[in-house]
Symmetry: C2
């Protein structure tokens, strides 16, 4: 078989590949006898066989051939693997190239190290069985499938010299996010971004079934990827020697193609979309494992998915097969007497930072440059008295974000992400600083699109989230704005990212990365026009389940607090920050410095809105912009319905202040909590989301039994804004009535209050039904100081 | 322009289309003067202009042409629209064909009815602005995009005569679920299933941006859909007359193609995958709306997305444009003096059940045939004493489900859905009754695949969920098994389905549909091998946020209770039932009849496991299989560590029993709750999921302050099963220690218990670290009665 490899090169590459495969099998099976210096016995085997071999030899095959390309061209390359269950292969390769030992010095490059390498894998207090933060060179957890290609594009953005090789498994390729993510090529600029080299790895099977893409006609397969905008090359086979020559040849071509595309675009300053190359590689699942076991085909089938020989403990024939399988890699040719990988083989790996396990982008925190931030105080909205000015909080924020964008254009390390919704969320000022990225075809009518834009918009929360994760994990900053209800689309992606952060924090060698910042707008209370499907504030609950030292939730009540909170979030590291704020015109309650102080504390009494001296009869608490509005309106209603009632208003910006400090670092201690909420007074709490989470956060508090939470209770349709609060019992009148019901001090007011409540709610229903909009007394309501 | 339509037909079709467009604009703008009998004034306008016009004329265009096909062939057709914001169009068409008035008699077919039709749209206490349960003929909520094609395939399954026309918007087409769902054609049998006719509607723009598929080269577009396995036809234009002829011609061809495919497959009994036709239809966004407004192009751009003229209240020129726009449809030609749609035009619509707004499949509950269920008691696992037999609960369930499948093969109304995981979840016995559906290419090595299989497996939770929703909404039954952690992938789809059920229940004309049944297995406590990414029990919290009368959560502690719970769930309607059960061998605690009684109650004391007479010193509560195991083991530890401690064991199967009955229909009243949990004794609660939800459900309970919940606290990695409980403080020793800490009766035992706890946890760490598996005393632990 002729090809670009000399016989010697081919031999070395094959030996290197065998070494990686050998170490992969070793990790799955062995705790002893790592070099097979004596016949395999039961004592050498791990008690539990955990790991996925099926995808691994293919991953190893690609790795060694990418190594060759890196060596030839001194290329800056990352390796992302969608089939992340194949961690044994990546660990093996990073061990062979030395980056593993540099990261974990106790895994030495000798027989002892080999033994530890094998033993630690899928072993308690060892390393996980999937690609994970623990693996050098990785930025993708390999558990939940579907995000590799998005991470790859996210990594390539603004790294013009980087090539991200991304293996997409044919199982993963069936997922929705992956199926959409091929279109990422319409958002990649060949001049200012790096390249992604997708390698679709068809090994034909998932855990129990064939894969779709391996069972369609070849012309369909090719058409599909041409349709996605790629120029696919194909390579299929199972004879190692032949495959080595062919793989070397095809990668030479693909590498040249990438560089030619980039060269042309950069020379000609032409950022129009090229047809990027990709590889469709077909190799057997479990390549090189036993062909048949107990008379059934294993290599090349789903039976090789995990542990191809599973009865080695009880079936001597399986044990014999395992030994033969291990010896088929000829370990004695690969490792010297000390168990050290032979110099002449190790030598074909790239050196230093060029090793994919040592690529600095994969430990992106090392590259993190803090954002240059404008002074958010300069954007604060002035007013005469609280509530006298109405603005769209997100529109105000848009001005600030525009300047964040401007100030960091030079370093190219900040992007914004939204599913077609930045303008809808009133952040369109950012387009003045940078356009919306678009590398597909343009038409005359287009506005604010740019081939170099730093605002990423596509109608897919999955794409936004995946790109952003890749961008953050390679050491940059980002901001994701989304309709509140639809952020649930990426619940599971958030989970995986939060888990990544939690695990990465525990690894001293991983540098801190910028936080993932969400702004949820078009929120539940102001989706009165879009209706029930657009009303869901449950992401709060979802986020709150993750580790306390990883997640933050902010509910700024107005534009000025939104500015302060956002400024803070953009400075943080290793968090997921969730900010929820409305886009509709709404009152500004706190002036610039009050807003800063309030946000720094996270919670506080609003004396200017409270009412009566000394200890209150009732605490009116609120978290979120609409709940704050209704609470303040309820205070004014109470002035009329129960003038002698002493009311304290407490506003919560930082939701986790409610939780005890022993459960969350932002939590109040009990003394401070009691000072705000009292130990025995009724608390009427208007909350942005589902009420239960307030109970969940406060159940250890002294006064918990007397906290009455009003929030979204899954009632809604297309109606008016105020009717949304009425449907869910969070309107000013219901809050006022509840305060009177709960406060013993105004017991005598209850009947009258019930009566007034009944009158006003009937008036509301009639008015809304008749006029299709809210009553003037509600629509035109403004806060008045007493 | 020549074509299949006579001049008269063409005129009528065009008039019908104009009528639909007129009614669409009317719904968005008008509350009065519906027939424009006098010049438009401000008084005629709605105060808030809500609705989406952009997609609507295209939807109307397709509707009228499908009507023609239905009339010509007496075809059984459903109409699903991905761009569900275009509800005005569907409402208009169902009004024109009469199905709307049959559903809502107060919307009469005259001027009064027209006025009410207009006024109710997006009006408080009227109808929502998107496609929704309120719309006759609909099975897809139009708010969250991405699921139309999945619903279409779900509807087509097992309905061999049905053609589901499905409009996919080019915005929606960017989403992950939609991008993957094109591959559904590999799961459709041309003999036993109906047909899906996808119509990709390229109108070029989303809310603020161009769409990807409208901005790639035509050859890429065609290649993409050929790659997806379709045979695409193209139609593009904006001249109505020309487009009517061409649309009629292309639909004639596509209809013939579908019938030819079916005929051939059915004649030749050849279920191999055909290349189904599809249509790619390109028409302007906001087709027929004002071409330019204020000098800016509107028709054919994103500016037509919602309300093309938004300043009609304040800008007289806009009001004039609106009137001209409305009159451009020539309403006086369309409606008679009474405001009734002219007979000769109405006559071109299909009649009776053939009207798409009256298609019985779209009110699937009407077709619901209850499942024939085997007696689940026959599958119960017998034992001598509780805990003496270990089985895989899901494997036992697999036998039951196999027979559920068998007994309903004749009616073809039951399918199972799983992301490649039925076998991994140990349900593979079902393959004995029916194979895994596969209509792509076969190879010799394949097992359990079948072109007629009723088990749907694909590596996409989105596809499983979407198909199942479509299947349920058209009156059939289903069962979805999934890895617990990854069910979060469809959090948002669950939301939308739960919202659909809630809204549909409020409509008397919508018949009840079968519940959506989830079995989550491979759960958090036994993903010790797959690691942290696979450990997430948060779907419980997510489900619990939805309406109490819609959701149910079951945590059966063993195989026999799992059988009983599943049997119950398969009989229910209009719920989402969430069942969580492990697949690993685990003890059976309750015999057949005890299991039935326990599940019927939902919660109960396990006297056989409790310890001591009379009032207990401590209540050991548990929910979930692993928590139950650890709790019973803790009881045996307590016998040793604090022999005099009186322990009551309470097991929870039905999670909502914890909530007060006023909040959930399954909730216990306070008296019953207190009887079980006492009013003042410490409760040590071992819970399957995140602990907070127990507090959320019980915060109104008398004894709430004394409930100590142990559950998953987001700690995990690849480790041993028992170590998972240790990492999260839910192991037997921690539970026992906590009982001793909390129970005043054994205050004197605390120090000794702390000591023993410390010893055993050190022993555990050492053993696991050394041996890679759990200590024999844990691994071999069996319950022994006292």
């Amino acid at each position: 078989m002729s090809g670009p490899l000399s016989t010697q090169e081919l031999e070395k590459i094959d030996a290197y590949w065998r070494a990686a495969n050998y170490l992969s099998v070793g990790q799955i099976y062995l705790k002893n006898n790592p070099l097979l210096e004596r016949p395999l016995t039961l004592d050498d085997l791990k008690p539990r066989l955990l790991g996925h071999f099926g995808t691994t030899p293919g991953l190893n095959f690609i790795y060694v051939h990418l190594n060759r390309i890196i060596r030839l061209h001194q290329a800056n390359m990352m390796y992302l693997i969608g089939p992340g269950h194949g961690a044994p292969g990546i660990i093996a390769n990073t061990f062979l190239e030395g980056s593993y030992t540099e990261t974990y010095p106790n895994i030495e490059r000798n027989a002892d190290g080999l033994k530890r390498l094998f033993r630690q894998f899928s072993w308690p207090y060892g390393v996980p069985s999937h690609d994970a933060p623990e693996v050098p060179g990785s930025i993708s957890e390999g558990g939940e499938l579907g995000y590799s290609l998005l991470h790859a594009y996210g990594a390539a953005f603004d790294n013009p010299d980087l090539i991200v090789a991304c293996v997409v498994g044919d199982g993963e390729a069936e997922t929705g996010p992956l199926a959409a993510s091929w279109h990422s090529n319409k958002f990649l600029n060949p001049i200012t971004d790096g390249a992604v080299l997708p390698i679709l790895h068809l090994n034909g099977y998932k855990i129990a079934n064939p894969t779709l893409l391996a069972r369609i006609d070849p012309d369909e397969l090719e058409a599909l990827f041409r349709g996605y905008g790629y120029n696919p090359s194909f390579l299929e086979g199972d004879d190692p020697k032949t495959m080595h020559q062919q793989m070397a040849a095809v990668l030479d071509t693909l590498y040249a193609e990438i560089r030619a595309i980039q060269h042309k675009a950069r020379e000609q300053k032409d950022a129009s979309r090229p047809r990027w190359p990709m590889l469709i590689l077909k190799t057997p699942k479990g390549w090189t494992c036993p062909r048949t076991v107990d008379g059934k085909p294993v290599e090349g089938t789903w039976r090789a998915h995990q542990v191809p020989l599973s009865e080695v403990h009880s079936n001597p024939e399986h044990l014999r097969l395992l030994e033969a399988w291990l010896r088929s890699y000829r370990p004695q040719e690969l490792f010297d007497a000390n168990g050290t990988f032979r110099e002449e083989l190790a030598d074909i790996a790239p050196k230093g930072r060029l090793r994919m396990g040592a690529n600095i982008h994969a430990n992106g925190g090392k590259l993190l440059v803090p954002l240059v931030l404008p002074n958010f105080r300069d954007y604060a909205v002035p007013f005469e008295t609280p509530g006298s000015v109405q603005v769209s909080a997100t529109q105000v924020l848009g001005g600030y974000l525009r300047d964040v964008m401007r100030k960091n254009l030079g370093t190219k390390n900040f992007r914004m992400f939204a599913p077609d919704e930045n303008a809808s969320n009133r952040l369109q000022a950012v387009y003045e600083a940078s356009g919306k990225r678009w590398n597909a075809r343009y038409e005359d009518v287009d506005e604010s699109l740019s081939t170099e834009g730093r605002v990423m918009e596509v109608l897919s929360e999955h794409l936004c989230q995946g790109w952003l994760e890749g961008y953050l994990l390679t050491g940059r900053h980002g901001f994701f704005s989304c309709y509140e209800a639809f952020i649930h689309l990426i619940d599971s992606m958030f989970n995986q990212h939060a888990k990544w952060i939690k695990s990465a924090k525990e690894l001293p060698w991983r540098a801190d990365i910028a936080s993932l910042n969400y702004l949820l707008s078009s929120h539940v209370w102001r989706q009165d026009h879009n209706g029930f499907s657009h009303q869901d504030p449950g992401f709060i609950d979802h986020v709150a389940n993750k580790k306390a030292d990883t997640v933050r939730i902010y509910l700024p009540p107005d534009a000025n607090t939104l500015l302060s909170v956002t400024d803070h979030c953009l400075r943080t590291k290793n968090y997921v920050n969730l900010i929820i704020a409305g886009k509709q015109a709404a009152p500004v309650w706190l002036d610039r410095e009050s807003a800063v102080r309030h946000c720094a504390a996270g919670i506080g009494t609003w004396d200017w809105a409270s009412h009566g001296e000394g200890e209150p009869d009732v605490v009116m608490a609120c978290a979120g912009d609409v709940p704050t509005l209704e609470t303040l309106a309820a205070v004014t209603v109470l002035r009329e319905w129960a003038p002698e009632l002493k009311v304290r208003v407490v506003n919560v910006v930082d939701l986790f202040t409610l939780e005890p400090v022993e459960d969350h670092p932002h939590g109040l201690n009990h003394e401070d909590f009691n000072r705000l909420f009292s130990e025995d007074k009724p608390v009427i709490f208007a909350f942005h989301g589902y009420p239960a989470i307030v109970h969940k956060l406060t159940y250890k508090r002294a006064n918990h039994g007397n906290i009455h939470v009003h929030g979204y209770k899954e009632e809604g349709t297309t109606t008016t804004p105020f009717d949304m609060t009425v449907l869910n019992g969070m309107d000013r009148y219901t809050l006022a009535l509840d305060a009177i019901r709960q406060a013993p001090a105004v017991r005598h007011r209850r009947d009258a209050a019930e009566q007034r409540y009944s009158e006003v709610s009937q008036r509301h229903k009639l008015y809304v039904s008749e006029h299709g909009e809210d009553m003037p007394e509600v629509k035109g309501w403004k806060w008045t100081a007493r």
